[in-house]
């Protein structure tokens, strides 16, 4: 019994090592030079076509906006799964948390003071990264993650569960609806004014803010569910 297990383990290790060597060999020894038509197309005239200074923002908000739509759908589905397929939903009576025990449980004074100082700056840099996403490195996803960090630091200071996650989930669904409708109307159906210089900028800022708020609400729902429901 153990002999066969050992042999199977050795076969697995050999398979992984052999696969790595084959892929590395193929990767290091390919000689053909492939053209980069997508790279040339996306970087040739993106400022005039999309109004974004940042080529990455131009790609994920205008050229390849389908990616963003399905990424937003994917995040929303995972949030719905985290909320609904949870053991703690049906067995909530076992999961009552004691408010007095949680309140200020093993929190150091230094952390509380420092987080209180840092907190507004974290929110500020998150909003800055979101709004300047199309002219500088940044965008909705990164800024949303920074905003969610602000909520996580709030948990360090005040570890009580006073957020209504259902409201956040509803907000996220509404944001997803507007994330879908905005590019469909603006990019696919071309409902644009004649001079698109200003409207392109407005579209970029609007989409980045919507994506940032959606990622923020999704990540904070996942964090609070894991801390207060799954982790007990």
């Amino acid at each position: 019994m153990t002999e066969t297990h050992k042999i199977i383990d050795i076969v697995r290790i050999l398979f992984a090592v052999l696969g790595a060597f084959v892929v590395l060999f193929l990767f290091l020894n390919h000689a053909e030079q492939i053209d980069t038509p997508l790279f040339d197309y996306f970087t040739s005239d993106f400022i005039a076509e999309t109004g974004a200074q940042n080529s990455v923002a131009a790609i994920y908000l205008n050229y390849r906006v389908f990616d963003t739509l399905f990424e937003a759908l994917m995040l929303m589905v995972s949030v719905m799964e985290v909320i609904n397929v949870s053991w703690a939903n049906k067995h909530a009576e076992q999961y009552r948390y004691e408010e007095d025990e949680l309140n200020r449980k093993n929190n150091s004074e230094i952390v509380i003071r420092m987080v209180g100082i840092i907190y507004p700056f974290v929110i500020l840099i998150g909003l800055y990264v979101i709004i300047n996403g199309h002219v500088s490195p940044g965008g909705g996803f990164q800024g949303g993650a920074i905003l969610a960090t602000a909520l996580i630091t709030r948990y360090l200071v005040y570890p009580n569960f006073d957020l209504d996650l259902h409201v956040l989930e509803k907000i996220e669904k509404l944001l997803f609806l507007s994330i879908v409708t905005t590019p469909v109307l603006y990019v696919f159906m071309q409902l644009q004014p004649a001079n698109t210089d200003l409207s392109n900028q407005i579209y970029m800022i609007l989409m980045n803010s919507l994506i940032g708020l959606k990622v923020f609400s999704g990540l904070s729902i996942i964090f609070y569910r894991f801390v207060f429901y799954e982790g007990r």
Partner: protein, 110 residues
């Protein structure tokens, strides 16, 4: 140390994750292996087609060539999807553990 590039480390990380998926029986370690495979893919994609001396693709193009923006734009979405997949896996693991009391794929832990 010229051969340690991002692509090679990414491929090695992918196969380390694949080895973990094949051998480990703990469900948590399986989810961790999936995350390691994802990180290998991100590293491979963000370093692919890199020309030394190129600049970030922001603003008007000067003398230096642009970095390829396509893999970066793909990986931005892939990172968020990776977070979603990990969250789904951990939630399903917690459900499974509370319902059946099992933390491994089989009862035989060896």
């Amino acid at each position: 140390m010229d051969f340690i590039t991002g692509e090679i480390v990414g491929i090695l990380l992918f196969f380390i994750g694949l080895y973990g998926l094949m051998t480990k029986k703990s469900i948590i370690k399986t989810i961790m292996s999936m995350s390691i495979m994802e990180s290998g893919i991100y590293l491979f994609y963000v370093t692919i087609n890199y020309v030394p001396g190129s600049v970030p693709p922001i603003g008007q193009q000067g003398d230096a060539p642009f970095v390829d923006p396509v893999p970066s734009a793909l990986m931005i979405t892939a990172i968020v999807i990776g977070i979603g997949v990990t969250a789904i896996g951990l939630t399903m693991f917690m459900h499974y553990k509370q319902k059946h009391g099992i933390t491994h794929w089989s009862r035989n832990r060896n």
